[in-house]
């Protein structure tokens, strides 16, 4: 704890906290990195789950440099933001949930990348991809938890729990309405036939 207190009071941490632009710039770049990372990996997961079925899966690997850029931005900005108030974060269970969600998401991204590489090499075919759907769903859920915990880190425990429940209800409702709307409009049937 003494080490964390020293880190929190260090010249670097104080400079960022007291600067009118540095702190918010790190926050802003953290969001930009998040969009690249979650955006690209989310598109791969959505494609595996049946969105834009005519999109070739293997060549999606060409977008991965954008994903790596997002990882680099978020590791740097994330570590800096963590150094500003480490004594607060170390006792906050939300940060641990966020860390677990990110680790799970990164593992899923690696699995999906290996799958895309194997597709490119002709080692596997899309029809053999039952596990991939589970990994894609896990990835999206993990990112949802990472975003949720990241956004609610500044709030009290009660608000965090209430927000989490509200988000899960809203997302479930949107998915349910989307599913039934998709069926009634014929989109889901059409996709199933395409598959």
């Amino acid at each position: 704890m003494e080490y964390l207190e020293a880190l929190e009071a260090s010249g670097f941490s104080m400079f960022i906290k007291e600067s009118s632009t540095a702190y918010v710039a790190f926050l802003a770049f953290h969001t930009i990195g998040l969009v690249f990372l979650v955006g690209v990996s989310g598109i791969v997961a959505m494609r595996i789950l049946g969105v834009a079925r005519s999109l070739p899966l293997g060549p999606l690997l060409d977008f991965f440099p954008l994903l790596y850029l997002g990882v680099c931005i978020n590791v740097v900005t994330g570590v800096v933001l963590l150094c500003l108030y480490p004594t607060n974060y170390i006792v906050d269970p939300t940060m641990y949930i966020k860390a677990v969600a990110i680790i799970v998401a990164i593992i899923m991204v690696r699995k999906l990348k290996t799958y895309l590489l194997n597709l490119e090499l002709g080692i596997v075919s899309e029809s053999e991809s039952r596990d991939m759907k589970t990994w894609a769903r896990t990835l999206l859920v993990a990112w949802l938890f990472a975003v949720l915990t990241g956004r609610t880190v500044a709030y009290g425990l009660a608000t965090k729990i209430q927000t989490s429940i509200a988000v899960l209800i809203v997302v479930s409702l949107v998915l349910l309405i989307g599913y039934f709307a998709g069926r009634s409009l014929g989109w889901i049937n059409r996709f199933e036939q395409d598959a």
Binding site: T31, P59, V167
Partner: protein
């Protein structure tokens, strides 16, 4: 003081929701982020393809992702309207006052407007039609690349200035 816009920009029922349920504001923050990821994530992939990255991917299937980007845009607009119309309940500031004093908010809105104009230019210049059916391996015309690069710059700017909005009030 402000007249008609004051009536529409400040909604009592939204303020009441925010005042009564503390989770309502943070719920909208999460929805705003999900919308951003969908919108800017898909627009970024679309733009970098036009700029010459991942040319192995034809444009037509990429366009199938655009309804999801539109859904993300609507999520952002909905949650953004909650922030605006219920602002008083959170920071005791009228939305019109926030618009006049918050330079980050002004920049964010300007960047969104320019992104809209840029999209309009993509269609009016004929570049949308020229790139709609690009096959695998085909490059977009130079003008389309410039439009895509501008779009990417503007949307990253929207995120950047948008994240700074609370510090401008």
């Amino acid at each position: 003081m402000y007249g008609l816009p004051e009536t529409f920009l400040q909604l009592a029922f939204v303020e009441e929701l925010i005042g009564t349920y503390r989770w309502f504001w943070s719920l909208n923050e999460v929805l705003h982020f999900i919308g951003l990821i969908l919108l800017v994530g898909i627009v970024t992939v679309y733009d970098v393809r036009l700029m010459g990255v991942a040319t192995r991917i034809p444009m037509a299937p990429l366009r199938q992702l655009l309804p999801w980007a539109l859904f993300g845009f609507f999520l952002c607009v909905f949650s953004g309207l909650v922030f605006v119309t219920g602002l008083w309940a959170n920071v005791k500031l009228h939305p019109l006052e926030a618009l006049t004093i918050d330079h980050y908010l002004q920049l964010k809105l300007a960047f969104i407007a320019f992104a809209g104009l840029n999209l309009l230019f993509l269609y009016k210049s004929g570049m949308a039609q020229a790139t709609d059916n690009l096959r695998a391996g085909e490059e977009a015309p130079a003008l389309a690349k410039y439009i895509a690069a501008t779009s990417l710059f503007l949307w990253i700017g929207v995120i950047y200035w948008g994240r700074l909005v609370p510090w401008g009030i």
